[in-house]
C-alpha cells in the first residue's frame, strides 16, 4: 500500500503512552501535525471531505446525547465511540452503498453515515415498539437491513467470519459487492477472527477487515492482548494483504479503504486494515476507566482527537468557516434531540412480540406459550424496573 498519496511514516506511535509500536512500522497518515498547508489527495472531493467531517460530528453528538440519557436513567445502557469517529466515517465514506457491513457494537456511525433514520436509532436506545429489533437487544445492537448493515451480536468476533461468508457468497454469485467487517483489538483473540482470516486467505473473497485498535478491551491494554507490537502483522500470518493506518486521520482511513475496496473489486482479494486509534470514553456506561488507565494517557489522546484534526485540515484547505461549524453541530443536536424525545414517548413493544421471529412461522408450542401468557398475565401490573446491566 506504499502508493497511498500523501501517506508517510509517523512517529505518533512512539509518542503515544498507550501504544506499543517499538519497531515503528509505517503508519499511513495524510493529516500531518507539521503540515502548514494541505492538499486534498486525488480522488477525494471537497464535498466528501466535508461530509466526513459532518459525519464525525453527528456521531459525537449522538454519543453525548446517549450518555446523557443513560446518566439520567432514561435509557438502561449505552456504548459510545468517542475518539473513534474517523474509523467509522473514513471507512464507510470510501465504500459503496451496496457493500455489506458486519459491525461490532461500536460502529453505529457507519449506519448513520448511510443515512439511517435517527428515529429508528433512538427507538433502539429505548428498546421501544418502534425499535427495528423489537426491544430484544441492549442498546448499541442496531440492525438496518435496508442499508446492508447487519445485525450486531454482543459476542465478540463472531461477525468476522460471517462477513467472509457474505464475501464468498457475493463472489459465488458474481456480484460486485464488497463485504466489510469491524472489530476491536480484543476481538483479534477470538476464535472467529482466526477462522475468518483463514477462510479469507484461502478463498481470496472480497472482504475488508477493519481492526479498530482502540488499544483497550475493557480494562485490558493491547500489550496484554497480543505479543505483537503492531497488530496489522496478524493479517500477514494468513497471507492476507495488510496495512496500518492512523485511525484518527479520517482522510488516511478513507484513502486506505478506497484502495483496499478497489483491490477487492478487482478480484485481488481481502485486505486487513489496522486502524490505530484510542477509546477516549469508557468501555460502556457500566465501565469506569479510571480504575485502569492514567489521566496523562487520556489527555494525550484527547490531543489527537480526529474531529479536531480534520477541522484543522479543512481550515488549511479553506473549506471551513465559523458559521459552517456552528450550523453543523447545532443541526446534528437538533435532529438527535428531536429523535430521542420522540422515542421517549413511544410505548414498549407488545408482549406478544416476544414470540415473533424465533422462526419464520410461529410453531405450535410458541403459540401456546404466547396464548397462556396473554390469558393469564395481561392483567398483572408488571413493569420493567430493575438494575442495569453491564
Amino acid at each position: 500500500m506504499a502508493a497511498t498519496s500523501g501517506s508517510s511514516s509517523s512517529g505518533a506511535s512512539n509518542k503515544s503512552p498507550g501504544l506499543g509500536g517499538k519497531s515503528g512500522a509505517a503508519l499511513l497518515q495524510v493529516i500531518r501535525d507539521d503540515e502548514q498547508s494541505a492538499q486534498l489527495p486525488p480522488g477525494l472531493t471537497a464535498e466528501v471531505a466535508k461530509r466526513m467531517y459532518e459525519g464525525m460530528i453527528a456521531v459525537r453528538v449522538y454519543d453525548e446525547r446517549s450518555l446523557k440519557l443513560q446518566r439520567s436513567g432514561r435509557i438502561g445502557f449505552c456504548v459510545t465511540s468517542f475518539g473513534e469517529e474517523a474509523t467509522q466515517i473514513g471507512t464507510v465514506a470510501a465504500l459503496e452503498e451496496k457493500d455489506w457491513i458486519y459491525p461490532s457494537y461500536r460502529q453505529y456511525g457507519v449506519a448513520m453515515y448511510r443515512g439511517v433514520s435517527l428515529a429508528h436509532m433512538a427507538a433502539h436506545l429505548y428498546g421501544n415498539a418502534d425499535d427495528l429489533a423489537v426491544g430484544r437487544q441492549m442498546p448499541a445492537h442496531y440492525t438496518f437491513a435496508d442499508k446492508n448493515f447487519v445485525s450486531i451480536s454482543s459476542v465478540i468476533g463472531t461477525q468476522i467470519i460471517q462477513a467472509v461468508g457474505t464475501a464468498m457468497a457475493a463472489q459465488y454469485k458474481g456480484d460486485d459487492v464488497v463485504s466489510a467487517t469491524y472489530f476491536g483489538d480484543g476481538a483479534t483473540s477470538s476464535n472467529d477472527f482466526h477462522s475468518a482470516l483463514t477462510f479469507a486467505g484461502v478463498s481470496k473473497a472480497p472482504v475488508l477487515f477493519f481492526l479498530v485498535n482502540n488499544q483497550y478491551a475493557i480494562s485490558l491494554p493491547v500489550e496484554k492482548q497480543s505479543g505483537l507490537d503492531e497488530l496489522y502483522r496478524k493479517g500477514l500470518g494468513y497471507g492476507v494483504h495488510s496495512v496500518r493506518v492512523d485511525g484518527n486521520d479520517v482522510v488516511a482511513v478513507y484513502q486506505a479503504t478506497k484502495e483496499a475496496a478497489e483491490r477487492a473489486r478487482k478480484g485481488q482479494g481481502p485486505t486487513f486494515l489496522e486502524l490505530l486509534t484510542y477509546r477516549a470514553g469508557s468501555h460502556s456506561s457500566s465501565d469506569d476507566p479510571s480504575r485502569y488507565r492514567s489521566k496523562e494517557e487520556m489527555d494525550y489522546w484527547k490531543s489527537r482527537d480526529p474531529i479536531e484534526r480534520m477541522k484543522k485540515y479543512l481550515q488549511q484547505l479553506g473549506l471551513w468557516s465559523e458559521a459552517y461549524e456552528t450550523y453543523t453541530w447545532e443541526n446534528a443536536r437538533d435532529k438527535i434531540n428531536q429523535a430521542t424525545s420522540d422515542a421517549e414517548k413511544t410505548s414498549q413493544p407488545a408482549w406478544e412480540t416476544l414470540f415473533d421471529h424465533v422462526y419464520a412461522d410461529l410453531p405450535p408450542h410458541l403459540a401456546a406459550q404466547r396464548d397462556e401468557l396473554m390469558k393469564n398475565e395481561s392483567d398483572l401490573k408488571l413493569t420493567n424496573e430493575g438494575e442495569f446491566p453491564l
Binding site: L132, T143, T158, A169, P364
Partner: protein
Amino acid sequence: MATQTSTSASSPTQQMTLIQAITDALRTEMRRNPDVVVLGEDVGINGGVFRATEGLQKEFGAKRVMDTPLTESGIVGAAIGMAVYGLKPVPEIQFSDFIYPAFDQIVSELAKFRYRSGGQFKCPLVIRTPYGGGIRGGLYHSQSPEAYFCHTPGLYVVIPSTPYDAKGLLSAAIRSDDPVIFMEPKKIYRAIKGEVPTGEYTVPLGKARVAKEGSDLSIFCYGAMVDVCQKAAERAQEDGINAEIIDLRTLYPVDEESILESVKKTGRALIVYEAPKTCGYGAEIAALIAEKAVDSLEAPVMRVGGFDTPFPYTLEYIYMPHPARVYRAITELAAYQ
C-alpha cells in the same frame, strides 16, 4: 397426529441405503436451486469421509462444493454469512463430536439471527452431521449431542431413520426458511435400505411417524434407535405385548400432539436414546408426558439411554441401548401394575 404422508411425487423409486438417499437429496436440491452450496472438510474431491457428498463436486464444481480449512466455527460462521446474503448453504460437520468448536456460532448466531434483528435478517441453512455410536469410534466419533440443540430456540433438529425419510426430510430442511441441524445416524448409513423415489419430494418437518402401531405401550425414539426398538418390539410381540413405536423425526420443535395421543391410547411410555441419560432428549419427552398426560399413565415413564459416562471404545456394544435391553424395558413396563 403422527403421519406417514409426504408430498411424494409418484415418481419411480430405487433401492437406496440411507447415505445414498442423503446424497440423492443433496443432488436433487442442488439441481433444483442454484443457491444451494455444500461446504465442509473433505467434502469435495474426497466425497466426504463417509462419502455422503460423493460425486457432487464433479457434477457441480469446486465453487459449489467447497473443501474448507479445518475449522468448524469457520464452516458454520461462513455458512451463516452466505445464508444472510441469500445462498442456501449445507455445511457438513464431519462428526457431530466435532461440532463443539462451532457451538458458539450455532447457539449465539445461527439460532438468534432472525430474532435479534427483528426479522430483518435470517440465515436458513442446514448443518448435516453424522452422529451416534455403533461404528467403534470411541469417545470422539460416537457422540449424540442432539439435546444441546433441542434446548436452543431458533433451531430445528431433525433425525431420519429410513432412507425414504432421509431424502424427504433433508429436502424439506433445505427448502425450509429456518436453520436446521440435520443429524444422520451413521451406524445405519449402509445397514438400512429402502425404496426411495428418484425425483423431488419432501417429508414435512415437525411431524412424527408411526413406525409400528400398537396398543399396549408407546416407544418414542429416533435415528438408529428406531431399528433397535423395532427388533425389541418384535421380540415382545412374541410374548403378546403390542408396542407402538413413534419415530419422532423432528426432535425440535417436537410433534407434541402425536406423543400425547399415543400415550393417551396406551397409558405407558418408554423413551429410547443413545446419548447420556441425564438431561438427554428423552427427559423432555418424559417431562412432557408427566405434565400433559399424567392422568393417562398406568406406569412410570421409562427411559433407556446411554450411561452417564463418556462413550467407550471396546465396550460400546454394552454402552449403547441394544435390542435386549430395550426388550427388557418393554416387558417391565408392560408388566407394571
